[in-house]
């Protein structure tokens, strides 16, 4: 194997730096937040918020793996977060469905009885 290729393989095998995961997590979070602010369909807004939560979870897993002595309970926290997010989806979609039943739309701009 030529030395350049060997070097490339070594790079691939080396552990990624923590910062890489954190930056990707931050970018995912920003995309989710942006989408949640500009999209008008409640279901899509909800998906964007789920993206935000998963971005945070990515950072959490990365921290748990890189911290000395795995930061105590470590990855177990991530499982808790996934369970909480699932509960939010269950209640959230039920509420969006209730809105659709009474209004025949889930566009957040058209659902505007309450204001002031």
């Amino acid at each position: 194997m030529p030395p350049q290729v060997q070097q490339f393989v070594d790079t691939l095998n080396a552990a990624l730096p923590l910062e890489g995961y954190l930056v990707i997590g931050a970018i995912m979070f920003a995309i989710g937040a942006w989408g949640a602010l500009i999209r008008r369909n409640a279901v899509v807004v909800f998906m964007c918020i789920e993206l935000m939560i998963n971005a945070v979870n990515l950072s959490l897993v990365a921290f748990a793996d890189y911290l000395p002595d795995a930061g105590g309970f470590g990855v177990g926290y991530a499982v808790l977060v996934i369970a909480v997010a699932a509960a939010e989806v269950a209640v959230g979609l039920a509420i969006v469905l209730a809105v659709y039943r009474s209004r025949k739309t889930v566009n957040v701009d058209e659902v505007n009885l309450l204001k002031g």
């Binding site: 945070v56 950072s59 209640v91 002031g116």
Partner: protein
């Protein structure tokens, strides 16, 4: 490690949880059990209150679940407030929830929120905090959207849901960054990281954490969900959500800041002072424009969040003791007067005009509403006055420029809030009744709650001694 003591420490939550399950199951298996489930739920709230009171009076305390869960006088005190407001919310819900035939589910949701709020005030672990805060919030989305007979209710629920879930993700990001920066989610370990100068990750974590909390506390500029949610929600749910989860969230914020990052106090007291002043002004200025009384009370609850945040700005130097006392006293004072005001809306109606001439048609209710409004303004010797007075004492004792500004803003805002609270009193006492009114609404239970809370608001001053003694032996000082 679980020991028998763990179960004793968790007993208020266990009692409330068991009762919520019993209510749900009775609703499933016993047909037409409206009165039965309501009785069980109300009894469950009383049992929870008694359990917490017994723990408090016996001086029980300790740390459980690997230092993640703490039982101290401070936590038990807030559990009492939560159980107290849950009891009155259940009483007020009995009449409403019967109409659609879903009363077991509705009462179960109220008790679930109570379980989450009671767990929350004891948490010393950031992820435990997150799970508890979600346990208190997720059922409250369902509570707000519960009334299928009004189109506003699902709409308010959806708006509350979308902003609430987004706030949760921001709060979680803050927690994760703090966890990453300090290597542990336990507040005792976090305190070692948050010393003099903060690393960028820790600082960003703190900012996101406080933003997430500000959402949950409806502090400006994150308050916009509050009026929609409270206007859409059934009245009993709005009353309960404006008191119990909010009290618990203030309590845990106090615990996180004092136990988790005491050395970073100069940073976060400045943020709190800014939030407090902004929240007071936004709440009061928007409340002035409202015609719908429920919406006005929602903005008034935003303003009161601002007053309580004012106590947080004084959490440094000589002001710490008084500031903690101020939060404890203000929360209790706010619980009695705000629950009462919402229940009067349940009796009378949410349009400002429905209060016209109330003194002539129903003098008892009118006098009670007058007491609640005067208490919310802060007229001595009613409950709200003592809360505000303690915030001012704390600000003066802390004696920094920021706390003087907060105290000044509090006084200005108390004056600003007079027109909209006294507008209702004027309508009740000096206007003529609207003709064609459908007559008195409500059952004896709501009426009983209103009278009981009015009495509590009036005699609140007598409880100040025990309350401040309690604050002195709370675990935070």
């Amino acid at each position: 490690m679980f020991t028998a003591q763990t179960f004793v420490g968790l007993s208020p939550e266990i009692v409330a949880f068991l009762f919520s399950m019993v209510v749900l199951m009775v609703g499933v298996f016993v047909p037409n059990a409206r009165g039965l489930v309501a009785g069980i739920a109300a009894f469950g709230a009383v049992a929870t209150f008694v359990t917490a009171a017994v723990l408090l009076l016996s001086g029980f305390g300790g740390e459980f679940l690997g230092n993640a869960y703490v039982v101290d006088a401070f936590a038990l005190y807030f559990k009492l407030i939560v159980a107290f407001s849950a009891f009155f919310a259940i009483l007020a819900a009995i009449r409403w929830s019967g109409r659609t035939g879903d009363s077991p589910e509705y009462l179960t949701l109220i008790l679930s929120v109570a379980v989450g709020a009671m767990l929350l005030v004891s948490m010393r672990d950031l992820f435990g905090l997150f799970v508890a805060i979600e346990l208190a919030t997720i059922p409250s989305y369902a509570l707000v959207a519960f009334d299928r007979s009004r189109r506003e209710s699902p709409e308010g629920g959806m708006k509350y849901l979308l902003t609430g879930v987004m706030a949760s993700s921001i709060l979680l990001y803050g927690i994760v960054l703090i966890y990453g920066a300090s290597g542990s989610a336990n507040l005792a370990d976090v305190a070692e990281t948050f010393t003099g100068s903060l690393s960028p990750v820790a600082l960003m974590g703190l900012v996101l954490l406080i933003s997430g909390f500000a959402f949950k506390l409806s502090a400006a500029p994150f308050h916009f969900w509050t009026p929609d949610a409270y206007q859409g929600a059934p009245t009993s749910a709005a009353a309960f959500l404006s008191v119990a989860p909010k009290a618990a969230t203030f309590a845990i914020l106090l615990r996180v800041l004092l136990e988790g990052m005491p050395d970073a106090a100069p940073t976060w007291t400045a943020v709190m002072a800014f939030l407090a002043v902004l929240t007071m002004f936004v709440g009061n200025l928007f409340a002035l424009r409202q015609r719908n009384v429920r919406r006005m009370l929602a903005y008034s609850s935003v303003a009161h969040s601002g007053y309580i945040l004012g106590a947080f700005a004084a959490l440094r130097g000589a002001g710490v003791d008084t500031a903690v006392q101020a939060v404890l006293i203000y929360m209790a004072a706010y619980a009695v007067m705000n629950l009462g005001a919402f229940f009067v809306i349940d009796l009378v109606g949410e349009d400002g005009k429905s209060f016209n001439g109330l003194f002539k048609s129903r003098p008892g209710v009118a006098v009670c509403m007058g007491i609640f409004m005067a208490a919310l303004v802060g007229i001595p010797p009613l409950s709200g006055f003592w809360g505000k007075a303690w915030v001012i004492f704390a600000g003066v004792e802390a004696a920094s420029a920021a706390t003087y500004i907060v105290v000044g803003a509090l006084v200005i805002n108390s004056v600003l809030s007079v027109p909209y609270y006294f507008g209702i009193i004027r309508n009740m006492f000096f206007e003529d009744p609207v003709t064609g009114d459908e007559g008195p609404k409500g059952t004896g239970l709501v009426l009983f709650s209103v009278y009981a809370l009015a009495v509590a608001t009036v005699v609140f001053g007598f409880f100040l001694g025990p309350l401040s003694a309690l604050a002195e032996r709370s675990g935070l000082l």
